[in-house]
Amino acid sequence: MSLIFNRKIFEDIEKEHGAWQEKLDRVFEANPERLKRFSTVSDREIKRIYTPEDIRDQDFSDDIGFPGEYPFTRGAQPSMYRGRLWTMRMFAGLGSAYDTNRRFHLLVNQGQTGLSTAFDMPTLMGYDSDSPKARGECGRCGVAIDTLKDMEDLFEGLPIDRITTSMTINPPAAVIWAMYIVMAEKRGIKRDIIGGTIQNDMLKEFIAQKTFMCPPDSSVRIITDTVEYGTLEVPRWNTISISGYHIREAGSTAVQELAFTLADGIAYTQHAIERGLDVDAFAPRFSFFFNSHLDFFEEIAKFRAARRMWARIMKERFRAKDPRSWWLRFHTQTAGCSLTAQQPYNNVVRTALQALAAVLGGTQSLHTNSLDEVLALPTEEAATIALRTQQIIAEESGVTNTIDPLGGSYCVEALTNQLEEEAFEIIRKIDDMGGMLAAIEKNYPQQEIADSAYHYQRLVDEKQKTVVGLNKYVTDEKLKVDILEIDEELERLQIEKTGRIRNERDNSMVEQCLEKVAEACSGSRNVMGPLIEAVRAYATLQEICDVFRNVFGEYRDPGIY
């Protein structure tokens, strides 16, 4: 026990606080406060002032401690940014594999230290570019990947033995990962060398992002296959990026983002343990992904609370013994939903503040949104400004000189405690329902998020929440930013390319491979081995995903609003 405050001091502090309060009440009697209620973007009420009284039971070693030490409130690693800056990882994907490859080279040449891939909608949903369902969508909001050939072209000339690659892909994550593994292998880079992340978090898809293919239980089964395979074969790969980002973008509050994300993490851990894996064998490769929204202190508190909660969950609930199972490492993206189409240059400032919160919260990697992302995929110029924003925070602002500079702030510590307490309450509710899969079937998280999103929209409409340039400080100016256009020709070219591959490959080999995939899906054999053979034979993404859909069935959106 190492209580921060000696109990004796509170008598004096309470007295002084009372006297100050009285003085203040008189001031506000004459001139009332600016607002009736001061609250965060999540509508959490914030007090006038925080004092030692708000963290009177805080124990330094148990609750705060040192970075890299349990419960990791102050940071995942002991050295934090004194050792190495966070990975500057800009999410990019547009048009064809060639187009995106060009953007990757540009970002790496500008000093970016990791790659992050955005796929187009057909790829995300497991359809090829020539599927009738893909009409009009090819390459529009990311890169189109149909076969191993596209994957080879995407990473052509990039040093994937030295930099890590993140791929934002969910229902077909196992297939895309298999393509990446084979692509690297063909370049002579073994699977125990490659490092990176597949998002591979289906629970949050049902909850928020809504790209889905098969029902929840089958989806989790495939994910557990990837966790098992990664643990045994691809030791430097993060097999799931347990994501709160999309939950927040869908309109949740900060505490809902925190609670639902960690509850998803609990579900994945539970399934991997039930598969027979030792928690300390796989848990160190779980990574997390959070949103950094507008409310500065609430966000910093959320990141700190997330680390502490996960450490406690892993140690106390799952009895993990390896400290690397306890630590929560996370990627952050600034809040796309906070950006406005009106006066788009203001978005640079919003993003800078959100990025700063992520850094003060101790993120391991960061994507900063471009000012034009509310309108279209970012232009090169806009993406460069967003990357420069991170570099200015890292190398000019001085905030990276000391670790967890806000640790010990009465306000930030009190908010950290509050968020932890409330999030654990929500997790208990989910446990009572029978876990996250059961909660999703009851539409519990979906409905909670819909309620929060609607509540926030009403606050904005009623001007109780200010959005600069949208409901206050409005001007008539028309936007003047350049917008990235995706060439209409792309769809035709991509369809041709995939058609050519279908003609040139050994089709009976593809058939055999797909049968093996089907067998693995119907039985209990890990599906990764057959997937690797199928993509090596140039089976297309959709051919493989159709096998998934045939065996497991398709999930339909329940359409909750």
């Binding site: 909608m121 057909p122 995300l124 949903m125 359809y127 369902k133 893909a134 009409r135 009009g136 969508e137 529009r140 909001c141 898809e205 992002q209 809504k210 790209t211 973008e249 869908a250 309109g251 939903c337 406005t340 189409a341 009106q342 509310v374 309108l375 279209a376 995929l377 819909a450 999103a453 609607y454 929209q457 009403r458 904005v460 409409d461 949208l470 409901n471 936007l479 917008i483 995706i486 339909r556 959106d557 329940p558 359409g559 909750i560 609003y561």
Partner: protein
Amino acid sequence: MAQKRKVRIMVAKPGLDGHDRGARIIARAYRDAGFEVIYTGLHQTPEEIVEAAIQEDVDMIGLSSLAGAHKYLFPRVLEILREKGAEDIVVCGGGIFPEEDIAALKKAGIKEIFTPGSSLDEIVKWVEDNIKPR
């Protein structure tokens, strides 16, 4: 005298785009405004949307798109409505669209387009002013 029928609106998500925050908020705002609302859920083909709209006998379809495929999907919905002789169903759109696409969509027959920053009141009022139960 028979009570006047309420305005019936279908909020629909065509294509593969999963961004449904806007569509669901709009559906709820329409419902709170007293309209009858049918929300299709995600990942609907234009054919499915039109079929459901005719079956549900709606007065208006609100299409939502935030992933850039509106240029194909929105006009396609109009085309199928015409093929089925249901062109009296008004079609509106909401989401993220470059300026020049908005003009093209309106020209194609999308009656109104709402973009980020439109208030719920404004969106509801437009229906009150422009849509009469058929």
